[in-house]
Amino acid sequence: MSHQSQEPTPEPGPEKEPGLSEELEQEVARESGAPAGLDAGEDTADRLAHALQQTMSHPWTVAAGAILLAVLVGSVMIAFTDERVTSAAGYFFARPGDLFTALGDSIGGAYSALFRGAVFNPRADGFAAQIRPLTETFNYATPLIAAGLGVALAFRAGLLNIGGQGQMLIAASAAGWVGFGVTGLPFGVHTLLAVAAGIAGGAVWAGIAGLLKARTGAHEVIVTIMLNWIAFYLVAYLLATPGLLQAPGSSNPKAPPTPASAQLPGLLGERYNLHWGFVLALAAVVFVWWLLNRSSQGFAFRAVGENPRAARVAGIDVPWTTVKVMLVAGGLVGIAGASQVLGQVTTGFGGDIDAGIGFDAITVALLGGSNPWGVLAAGILFGAFKAGGTAMQASEGVPNDIVLVVQSLIVLFIAAPPLVRAIFRLPDPDRRRTPREARKARKEAA
């Protein structure tokens, strides 16, 4: 069809068609953000600077910067809440050395306790016990990863899924009910059925929000928040009503224990708490990656998320896609709920089975940049905070709340990338020049 022979690369006769080469130069500059006519090998320094800029403006660098900042601010908080530091500060002018020792002990002690509790404990006997904290981290990370994926997927499709709590509660109830209510199934089948029930429960609960948004235009944030409350009180009622979810013979709002046939079996044997839920979460990461990057459905999800108008013109049914996204997102959160009931709390769950994970998941998704691998990393980081926070409190007396403060600070800094960039002087990917450079250039020109 094309009758034109102006290939972009070959040399156009410069005298004959100056516009063409200029045009290509401009196009290259527009696309790469690099100075036009940057030749390979000609200017290594420039190329290095360009590569460095690409790396430094990457969101991961910002995430790392946010974590570092949060840890620094956390140090201040740890120091302030430590009595040794406050008392040493009282006689600072008499013996200033004491304050610095106290500061070092306090902050160093706290973070090394965090490390011992979350990754590796050299004080324990034998490698198997020393590495146990890491498995605890993975254990805590399991529901965070699964629920984080649920939030991240919805976000990629332009939906804010604030309903993790409700979806987890419904999922946990469904999985729990299949666990103790259905009997006579062999081990394995029973577990799978219970997990499937959890996924279905989460999917239905999120699907309601999707359907309401698709059919009536109700905003998903409001709907999912309200569904959290509905789920909370509904589950509270179910747990307090004999014959429904309440354990027989008990008057507490608590479900019966999950029978062994429905439990997610341990992954590394009796010594560790880590169970197959972690494998489910990892499988979910791979699944979401495939869904988003390799499937036609994920293509539609992303198109709707990035530009719903263009998606509609391209023949994608936007409302129906909204429903599908919420179903899948809820299913992912459902894995978190199921893993809680079938792996974590097998002695019978109460109304607090979601353990705040539904909301932490939002943070995890945000920190992970709504990318499945990012969610995996963020989930493990937050799992480490949870596992290590207890150790910090136990051995150093640092209030666990400080760990939560650090977590919240990370989110705060993540939510304000310009702040992190400004502090670490990272380049902005959207602006190709820092104000400082611009000022310098102006000065040179003047």
């Binding site: 034109q4 516009g19 108008r309 102006r442």
Partner: protein
């Protein structure tokens, strides 16, 4: 007042929007700044108006160096600007709009009377016939533009900048604007007229400066031919006329009858529209922006919700079908607003090229994207449609307007089409790409496909069309041959049906 720009340079990152531009405008002169979209004309004027700070260079008024920190400074120095998109408050009266920003009066009491007087004075001087108490929203676009002009004059502007002022005007309104500009010139004002339309340049300019890719590439005389001006503007010889043979009709047929579209606000935006397009011909839908053309094309694709009447393609009813089904019937669509409706900016070129084919083979098999096929397809489409890019993995949002449009065009035309609908296919597109896009549209017509092209540019409509349908306020004013005189078409665009010639009036 004599305006001089010396060595103005403005960079946005690696992009040099203005590269040492020199420009002098003498009093009593219309100086035309001619250049393509993206050549840097608007950037230059924004520097002049104090909206951007130049990286290098200086602005002189009557040989005095000026430092503008904002539009306020520029206005105070005697520079007035008539923007492409009017900066008027629709619910305010003419007088209120004119005084907005420098309200006369004292002690918090507005002196509307003095503003009224000013409006009356200026409009008498130039024969505008403007009622100071009329509300802006009740005025036609051309008259609104005069309010903008009065606004600038009321602040004693000696240098007037018209930034693409004719984009929203009918041909008649354009002629009237030209007359006003001449009048202003004769009264001693220095006028900068920014445009990319050659016809207007030759008609009104005293001097022409051509800008290309941020640089001044030369001056031209108003007597230069269109071809010369265009090649200066683009940097190579450009084919301005569209070559097409007599239509060879195929059996394809789009028939629209009694089509009515009601928008979300309940207004009838397309009113009893009927027409036919045969395979192998181009029907151009002409008219001033906002007279129902957009909604008509959206209705053809199934994007409008409240549609009555009938649209049949080769005898098959299309109304009431989903967009997906309409696309599957072989309807190709180039939306008017490509960045919002045609492309996903964050997606790569390859992804955008399969945007409306993500539901089945060949791009998708058993739910999985066929990445190898997608990339091969993208590479061949990029080569065939001359998309200038570093690679198929470039986010489409980083491309220039013309290259973006080629991506849309490639996506639509590389399907098996039975109808092609293009809304404003060359808006915001450089002249070089326009030439290419026109060729592709004609090639589609010659392949026997019925083609509907919406254009608010009369030149484009007459060049591409076999027949022209003019719309006014949602109704068809008439369907006439493309040889119809410009004046008649202009009148039709203002809602006056053709009488003396053989058009089929609706």
């Amino acid at each position: 007042m004599r305006l001089e720009l010396r060595g103005i340079t403005k960079r946005f990152g690696a992009l040099v929007a203005n590269d040492h531009i020199d420009l002098t405008v003498e009093p009593g002169e219309i100086h035309c700044l001619l250049g393509e979209n993206g050549a840097g004309k608007s950037t230059l004027m924004n520097v002049l108006y104090g909206l951007y700070e130049a990286d290098e260079g200086e602005i002189l008024l009557d040989d005095e160096v000026q430092h503008f920190a904002g539009p306020g400074d520029a206005m105070a120095a005697g520079i007035g600007m008539v923007h492409q998109h009017f900066m008027l408050v629709p619910v305010f009266s003419v007088a209120e709009n004119v005084m907005l920003g420098h309200e006369p009066g004292s002690g918090g009491v507005l002196d509307v009377e003095s503003a009224r007087r000013q409006v009356r004075e200026i409009s008498e001087r130039f024969g505008f016939h403007l009622d100071p108490d009329a509300l802006i929203e009740d005025l036609p676009v051309g008259v609104q533009q005069r309010v903008e002009i009065i606004k600038a004059l009321s602040r004693n502007a000696d240098v007037l900048v018209f930034d693409e002022p004719t984009a929203v005007l009918t041909p008649q309104e354009t002629d009237e604007l030209m007359a006003i500009m001449r009048q202003l010139r004769d009264s001693g004002a220095s006028i900068v007229f920014i445009t990319h339309k050659l016809r207007e340049v030759r008609e009104v300019a005293d001097r022409i400066t051509v800008v290309r890719h941020g640089k001044v590439v030369g001056e031209a005389s108003p007597t230069a031919s269109d071809a010369d001006l265009a090649s200066l503007m683009v940097g190579r010889a450009v084919e301005l006329t569209v070559h097409k043979d007599e239509p060879r009709y195929s059996t394809g047929l789009l028939r629209v009858s009694g089509l009515q579209v009601v928008d979300d606000a309940g207004a009838v935006v397309v009113d009893d529209v009927s027409f036919e397009v045969r395979g192998g011909e181009v029907l151009a839908v002409a008219g001033v922006q906002g007279n129902g053309q957009t909604e008509l094309t959206e209705a053809l694709l199934g994007l409008q919700d409240d549609v009555s009447g009938s649209i049949t393609l080769d005898g098959e009813e299309l109304t009431g079908r989903s967009v997906r089904k309409v696309l599957d019937r072989g309807v190709g669509f180039v939306p008017e607003d490509r960045t919002h409706d045609g492309l996903v900016g964050e997606f790569t070129i390859a992804e955008n090229l399969m945007l409306d084919r993500s539901d089945g083979p060949p791009f998708v098999r058993s739910g999985a994207l066929q990445l190898a096929y997608r990339d091969d397809f993208a590479r061949s489409a990029v080569a065939e449609y001359d998309v200038r890019t570093l690679g198929i993995d470039t986010p489409v949002g980083r491309l220039s307007g013309g290259n973006q449009q080629k991506v849309v065009l490639a996506r639509e035309l590389k399907r098996n089409l039975r109808l092609f609908v293009a809304a404003q296919p060359t808006r915001g597109v450089d002249v070089g790409s326009i030439e290419f896009i026109h060729k592709q549209i004609v090639a589609t017509r010659d392949a026997g496909v019925p083609v509907v092209v919406v254009s608010t540019e009369l030149d484009e409509a007459t060049a591409l069309a076999d027949r022209i349908m003019v719309m006014y306020r949602g109704r068809v004013v008439g369907i006439v041959p493309s040889t119809t005189p410009r004046d008649t078409l202009g009148l039709m665009m203002a809602g006056i049906p053709p009488v003396e010639h053989g058009g089929e009036a609706a």
